[in-house]
């Protein structure tokens, strides 16, 4: 990959097809049933083809970073639930990981196992919902979505029993987990996990060979691997483009080294590959869960050195990241020795994955823009913070 490859990285300008044709500018505006939240795309069309696309967001900007600067480290934890509101437990883990790097805390074994189990359950329910929403945008009127939500309800009931809340879990703490597992929870998880392969099989029987899905998604929204790497794309989008980069394997965080799981890679980088990668990753998560549930050790769930109130890490900074279901979720913290962070930064995977939205949509039909956007799988809470 040479330096000259990116001298002219701006997407090529496509001229209108006929003489005297004007471009139609459409705002696929914040009120839209398929934009996964309040998100706007200013699209310039030549007939049906997209000539220019500018994403506009910030409608859900709550300045989470400034809130966390005025609140203490502990008080910022419930706000991380609300970043990617589908996957609150992985957001909590990413923040706890960054603080543990900053303060040098150790996490006991049992807490590590609980973190892995909750993170993989989160990943499965996120991928199932993402596939459901993608199919809904394709016109499947909600059937795959409702089947996915049926499974998701079982997982959310497990979270409610463990943490008290279905989505805003606020469960991880610096040095471990907040509360001990309730009696019988692991058996319930095992029952749900035993039913998951059948659910994924049913979803695949419904969708994978479906000719409409294949016609609409194969060859659409192609992303090449070197552009993906340079544009900082992570998560299923990157692996669908063919780049082998999964932070669980690269950073060896938590105890993922103990579990045998594969990382699926795609060949073409189109929407169909992203759909298949999500299905295959859900299967691999089931494998991880089966292995993790076998030997959860007894023991403490918090580091004895960590404090709940009055937590003051030493001066310094740290960047901690995990493989969230949407990509690389990172937290950058600068501490000045007081109880509040001096600088708190969330590296949002959904925002960075949108960098190449224009590149993928150029030359496609406007109907495909909605699909391409759906295959990026964003959550506005994370894009805008």
């Amino acid at each position: 990959m040479s330096a000259t490859a990116f001298k002219s990285y701006r997407p090529p300008v496509i001229e209108p097809s006929e003489e005297g044709d004007e471009l139609l500018e459409v705002a696929m505006g914040p009120h839209h049933p398929s934009t996964h939240g309040v998100f706007r795309m200013d699209v310039a069309l030549d007939g049906e083809r997209v000539v220019k696309l500018k994403p506009v967001f910030g409608y859900l900007h709550r300045n989470h970073e400034k809130i966390a600067e005025t609140a203490s480290y502990l008080a910022a934890m419930p706000y991380t639930d609300r970043l990617d509101y589908f996957c609150s437990l992985t957001n909590n883990w990413a923040y706890a990981l960054a603080v543990e790097k900053l303060a040098g805390l150790e996490v006991p074994e049992r807490a590590q196992y609980i973190r892995v189990i909750t993170a993989e359950l989160t990943r499965i329910q996120n991928h199932a919902s993402a596939i459901g929403f993608l199919l809904q945008e394709m016109g499947a009127s909600g059937t795959p979505l409702m089947y996915a939500f049926r499974e998701r309800e079982k997982i959310l009931d497990l979270f409610e029993e463990l943490t008290g809340s279905r989505m805003m879990c606020n469960y991880m703490r610096f040095g471990g987990c907040r509360v001990e597992l309730p009696k019988g929870w692991l058996e319930k998880v095992k029952t749900v996990v035993d039913g998951l392969p059948q659910f994924i099989d049913e979803t695949e029987a419904l969708l994978t060979g479906n000719e409409i899905l294949m016609a609409r998604s194969q060859g659409v929204g192609v992303l090449k691997p070197d552009l993906a790497v340079n544009a900082g794309i992570t998560g299923p989008m990157l692996r669908a483009a063919g780049v082998n980069y999964d932070i669980r394997k690269v950073d060896h965080y938590g105890i993922y080294d103990r579990f045998k799981f594969r990382v699926p890679l795609g060949d073409h980088g189109d929407i169909y590959d992203r759909y298949m990668i999500r299905v295959l990753e859900a299967r691999e998560s089931v494998e991880i869960l089966k292995q993790a549930l076998k030997d959860v050790p007894a023991g403490p769930i918090m580091d004895p050195k960590s404090k709940i109130r009055g937590f003051r890490p030493k001066v310094g900074e740290a960047y901690g990241r995990i493989e969230a279901p949407k990509g690389e979720l990172g937290f950058y913290l600068i501490s000045d020795g007081t109880g509040n962070p001096y600088r708190y930064r969330v590296r949002p995977p959904s925002l960075i994955n949108l960098t190449v939205l224009e590149d993928m949509c150029l030359g496609q039909n406007v109907a495909d823009v909605v699909l391409i956007f759906g295959s990026v799988d964003i959550v506005l809470g994370e894009v805008d913070r």
């Binding site: 409610e160 029993e161 008290g164 809340s165 907040r178 419904l206």
Partner: protein
Amino acid sequence: MLGEGMLKGLAETAKNFAGSFVSKERMTTVQYPEERIAPIENTRDFPFLVYDGSDAMAGLRCVACQICEKECPPKCIYIVKSTDKKPDFVGKMQIYPTRFDIDISVCMSCQICVEVCPFEAIKMDTEFELSTTDRFGGLLYDREQLSKSNEHYHKIHPTEAAEVDARLAEEKAKAEAKAKAAAEAAAAKAAAAAAAALPKEAPAKEPGA
């Protein structure tokens, strides 16, 4: 053959459709509000203050230490400490909150106030049908609205309430044992002091006998 994938998919949908008549697994809709699912025990919605006994203000466990007010992330708790002391449930003189307001339109049910309370005085309720038509102040709960009895706590969170009661009883027993030991030590010291004073008097009495 063309359309094979779609036919397989339709078979899947038919299985779900037919199955929804026979199995609860396939038909998961619950006709709320006529039917309700049993709430999960650990669920949390908004906080409430626990009191022991039957009189809310006399048995309130809260001593207005204001730790929950400081740790609350959106700062929805407002406490005013009392200037006098009042006997609490066991009879000890304690400071109490004259005002304890929680704005539940701001509260985000994060449960940090419960986690940091050192006196087991604030716990999470499970009530969520709380809508009101009063826009200004209808969702501002004051001390009387927030106080609920320990029996209510046992009803909504039986395991947790049993643990809390066990912990409080243990602390009480430890405090009593410490008080008893201190009293015994003081009595022993007083007896020793009295015994040390006696022999000086005895020789003075004996020659008189």
